[in-house]
């Protein structure tokens, strides 16, 4: 079994118009910049993108929006230090937004990956984000029914990987990445280093390879926040 691919371009092959794409990361930590930019080069349209945020500056998801790839964002916090890409299109009515509380977003993805079509959470009860949703009472408290979230593809940034797709992450760059690995039809991962089988202690594997389809080594990957602070633009 060998899930390695040779390049970021090869890794994002098959992502076509109208696809739903989960993209890992929280702000700049854990954002798979090289995979995102390879997808922009490929240029599919009408994508639904699932991420905690909605892009920053003129790189990564913001550059996807600038390039007109994104029809809809599903996220919890579409703000950043430089949110112009999303904000301008949103206020112009050119991009849809499904706003989801952060913990509900995480659990919907987890549920999608675990084969659980719906669950109940106290989060959002009595607020406008629960309007139209099924409410049920358990042990005297009210809960909101939320549906699973799945995707055609997930773009993931991890630290170490092996050819089976076993993964570790770097510090708080873990965030949504392990969840999204489980919830996509095709999970595509960029790692800083591909190590031989056995090179990751099985006790330290965070994402087991069963959840991963493609692994590409991007040595010394870009860090989104560092690019933002340098004023980088991807075009």
């Amino acid at each position: 079994m060998d899930k390695q691919v040779a390049s970021a371009a090869e890794a994002v092959a098959g992502i076509g118009d109208g696809a739903t794409v989960m993209i890992g990361g929280f702000g700049g930590s854990g954002a798979p910049i090289e995979l995102i930019h390879a997808l922009i080069d490929k240029g599919p349209k009408g994508l639904t993108v699932i991420n905690n945020n909605a892009g920053n500056g003129r790189i990564g998801i913001a550059a996807m929006i600038d390039a007109g790839l994104v029809k809809k964002m599903i996220c919890s916090f579409p703000r950043s230090s430089d949110p112009r890409a999303f904000t301008d299109r949103y206020l112009a009515g050119e991009i849809e937004l499904e706003l989801v509380p952060q913990g509900t977003l995480a659990e919907r993805i987890r549920a999608g990956g675990a084969g659980i079509p719906a669950f109940y959470t106290p989060t959002g009860f009595g607020t406008e984000l629960a309007e139209g949703k099924v409410i049920a009472e358990f042990d005297g408290r009210s809960y909101v029914q939320e549906r699973w979230l799945k995707a055609d593809f997930a773009l993931i940034k991890a630290h170490l990987g092996d050819r089976h797709g076993n993964l570790t992450y770097n510090k708080a760059a873990r965030n949504f990445n392990p969840l999204m690995c489980t919830a996509a039809e095709t999970t595509i991962v960029q790692v800083s280093e591909i190590v031989p089988l056995g090179g990751i202690d099985p006790e330290h594997v965070v994402t087991p390879g069963i959840f991963v389809d493609r692994v590409v080594e991007i040595a010394d990957p870009a860090q989104e926040e560092v690019l933002i602070r340098a004023g980088a633009v991807y075009a």
């Binding site: 929280f26 230090s81 987890r110 959470t121 708080a172 873990r174």
Partner: protein, 234 residues
């Protein structure tokens, strides 16, 4: 008492944060909201240990690093660089919100646009204009054993922030347990504001006039005191 006199009696943001910090017990797990609530971490009483949780997957983070020393894969929910303390842990977002929703946090401390006597909180958006963003606020208000709000007692133009019913969009229903304002400490007990502390020199009737719902006195009301503090963020 004039509005100016009311204003003169208020605690600074740093002092409000200090006062809230005095109520965080030793050995607790605490989440501080983005912005103003982050100040609470600076005023932990000596000898008490609190482990701070951040939604993006760290327990036991510490002070920001020196400028130039940032590791941007080591950030808090406000996307600011942090450091780790010995004994820190990383985890993914589903585990992080299991900690939040599952009742494992002792205290969450948040800011507010409005708090209602019912414990309802409005702190995520003011109107329907612009781009809405909720983050983890709606999750945090459910699950922590105590939800503290720190806030000015009134808005910049003198309107009550403590009200009968919130007029701004809700973050959560019946979730706030205690409010630390610039002028008072108030518990929410069975749908009522119960006054515990107020600024010395402030008359009850004045405080009541600056509050949008009835203040109740169910026991002793003591002076709300805080040391003079210098804070660059205050």
């Amino acid at each position: 008492m004039s509005t100016q006199d009311f204003d003169a009696l208020k605690l600074s943001n740093a002092q409000i944060a200090w006062r809230a910090a005095q109520d965080i017990a030793d050995g607790t797990y605490v989440n501080l909201g983005i912005g103003f609530p982050e100040m609470v971490a600076r005023y932990q009483p000596p000898g008490r240990q609190t482990i701070f949780h951040t939604e993006n997957g760290i327990l036991d983070f510490g002070e920001p690093p020196a400028e130039g020393e940032e590791d941007w894969d080591l950030i808090n929910a406000g996307k600011r660089a942090v450091t780790l303390k010995p004994g820190a842990a990383f985890f993914h977002h589903a585990d992080s919100f299991a900690m939040v929703r599952g009742g494992h946090l002792d205290v969450a401390i948040l800011g507010a646009y409005q708090v209602a006597e019912t414990g309802d909180l409005a702190n995520w958006r003011i109107g329907s204009k612009g781009v809405p963003a909720v983050g983890g606020a709606m999750d945090l208000v459910h699950g922590a054993r105590q939800v503290f709000v720190i806030t000015e007692h009134v808005t910049k133009d003198g309107k009550p922030k403590l009200v009968e019913r919130c007029s701004f969009p809700l973050t959560g229903v019946a979730c706030v347990t205690r409010v630390y304002t610039s002028h008072a400490v108030i518990d929410i007990v069975e749908g009522r504001f119960v006054l515990r502390e107020m600024r010395p020199g402030l008359a009850f009737d004045t405080l009541q006039a600056m509050t949008g719902a009835a203040l109740h006195r169910d026991g002793p009301v003591t002076d709300l005191l805080a040391p003079a503090l210098y804070s660059p963020l205050a």
